[in-house]
């Protein structure tokens, strides 16, 4: 593989990730190519198909999320801080925006599946540690964390400045994290939020 081809592939992945963060996974491919400073044909040469690009981006950013989890666990002094840092780090990537919007065809692809399982394992470990430490509310479930990140990562309005959006997202996430810590808050409404229960929420 030639040097410029590899560099361009990386640029495309990066541009796709940012575009998905702002517009969602239905963003026009032209917009991604333009953002990468490349022609549309180059995009199609590297990723023969729309879903191929989605798969590549998903695998890429899931690996980054897994690494963020490992880093947080290694470097933070306590389990709650690790969980908080992990959430803030993941918020800056496109995982929370991208993953729930992916269809089964992408999510079940082997390369994505493996990365997803690994990232989920790290996240689960962060949560279990914080619960064992006694600092994370026991009624907060695994899926609550990921879905909440989705809520905070998505832009409020299309015409907001991306930097301002990011600052706002971190601010609101921090407000949310306050509510995660054990304290005198009452119990949560709704049933326990298992992964199976989440799957059954899909209507068709």
């Amino acid at each position: 593989m030639r040097a410029d081809a590899e560099r361009n592939r990386g640029r495309l992945l990066d541009a796709a990730c940012r575009t998905y963060m702002e517009q969602g996974p239905d963003a026009p491919l032209d917009a991604i190519a333009r953002r990468a400073g490349l022609g549309i044909a180059t995009l199609y040469r590297h990723f023969g198909d729309r879903t191929a690009l989605l798969r590549a981006v998903a695998a890429d950013v899931l690996a980054a999320a897994e690494a963020a989890g490992d880093r947080a666990r290694a470097e933070e002094p306590d389990a709650f801080s690790a969980l908080r840092r992990y959430m803030h780090d993941v918020l800056d990537g496109c995982v929370p925006v991208l993953m729930p919007a992916l269809g089964p065809a992408v999510r079940e692809a082997p390369e994505v599946r493996a990365r997803l399982d690994a990232a989920a394992a790290v996240q689960r470990r962060l949560i279990d540690d914080a619960k064992a430490e006694g600092t994370l509310h026991p009624d907060v479930e695994f899926a609550d964390i990921g879905l909440a990140l989705t809520r905070f990562a998505r832009p409020i309005a299309g015409d907001f400045d991306p930097a301002a959006e990011a600052a706002l997202a971190h601010r609101h996430l921090e407000l949310f994290v306050r509510g995660l810590r054990t304290g005198d808050g009452a119990g949560l409404p709704g049933p326990a939020l298992t992964l199976g229960g989440l799957r059954s929420m899909r209507s068709p």
Copy 2:
């Protein structure tokens, strides 16, 4: 105005509100008409224009939000409970999804503007009361509440069952509300979130 015409107008407003909640304000008008059990021509007869429907729905749901705020203030025993109840009530309408997505053409229309100001005044009163009561964190700003509601109101994934989505939204909002109450949480990141600062976040 004939009786059936008035009934259908109400059905259209209701269908539009629900459709906007699920798909956002760019939802096809055909989908709204179909959901109301009416033909597309009927929709265009009542609201000559796409934005006319948006204006009508916005004015309608903002009035409902204002009423919800008044109700909460009147019926709840303390200011924090009133704020919480208000947030949960508003979450069930389409205000949080619709308002940030509206362009200036709709938001500045007189009929919308008046309702928006009134609804904002009630929300501000709920927040001020809770701060005066000492139960709401002083670093939580007016705009935080509205924008957070937007985050919780938007559906996670398009193919989730609406009822399950709603339950999840209330669950996560409750988690968030925990973090709003005064306690030993640290300060929030980012600058104070004024309405002016919010306006300046729009990029073009």
